[in-house]
């Protein structure tokens, strides 16, 4: 079975400071990992994904995420936060093993609040 955990309900950071939104996962094999962002009254928008290759993945709006197999983590990062980054962030995982689900499992979400 595949599962994902976002241990923080909310992350607060000052504008201009680096931000990290945490995600850990559990799958049988090597995971496919995704980050999505949801702004108020909007649908989820894809930010980035890890399938294979370089552990550091770069995505939209200056976000990046680092895949760490030993820690089963895929934390989302940005070097310098903007007030406009304030939103709800979802991590998702998919187990690629045959017989595994083709549908990703989403975490509960982390509310990022960037203070001016």
């Amino acid at each position: 079975a595949q599962s994902v955990a976002q241990p923080e309900d909310q992350v607060n950071v000052a504008e201009g400071n680096p931000l990290t939104v945490k995600c850990t996962y559990s799958v049988s094999g090597n995971p496919y990992l995704f980050w999505y962002v949801q702004y108020p009254n909007r649908g989820l928008q894809f930010l980035l994904k890890y399938i294979t290759g370089d552990n550091l993945v770069k995505g939209s709006y200056g976000f990046e995420a680092e895949f760490n197999k030993s820690q089963t983590s895929f934390h989302l990062k940005k070097p310098s936060a903007l007030v406009s980054d304030s939103a709800l962030y979802f991590c998702a995982v998919r187990d690629p093993l045959e017989g595994g689900s083709y549908i990703p499992t989403f975490g509960r979400g982390t509310s990022l609040i960037v203070h001016p």
């Binding site: 999505y36 649908g43 894809f46 399938i51 083709y102 549908i103 990703p104 499992t105 975490g107 509960r108």
Partner: protein
């Protein structure tokens, strides 16, 4: 181009009533997904269509829930005898390819329909 469109954006109904929620996917997208998002939770998978057929409906909570996609484009999620526990935001997503054929399959989400059962 236009994104995934869901109507209505809000739906208020009374316990026991029947509701239909509509999803219009991105043109050309072959796969369509329905999720339910409760307050403080992530999207919870309900059903997934490949073309006109339901490829995986394992997430439907019970037989009061049903979804169709008769022409392989627009989909309707139908809920019979609504209960207060059905109150949630129902999200629809579409993707260009099927998730079992593309490893990094990306889903494009609509803004959702907020269903309130009184």
């Amino acid at each position: 181009g236009a994104g995934v469109s869901q109507t209505p954006s809000n739906k208020v109904t009374e316990k026991g009533k029947y509701v239909e929620l509509r999803c219009d996917p991105i043109s050309g997208h072959t796969a369509l997904y329905w999720y339910r998002q409760s307050l403080g939770q992530g999207p919870e998978f309900l059903i997934y269509f490949q073309g006109t057929g339901a490829a995986d409906d394992s997430g439907l909570p019970n037989d009061r829930f049903f979804a169709v996609r008769p022409e392989g484009s627009v989909s309707t999620l139908k809920i019979q005898r609504t209960e207060r526990g059905d109150s949630a935001v129902y999200l629809c997503a579409s993707s260009l390819t099927y998730p079992d054929r593309e490893r990094g399959n990306i889903q494009y989400f609509g803004a959702g329909t907020r269903l309130s059962v009184l």
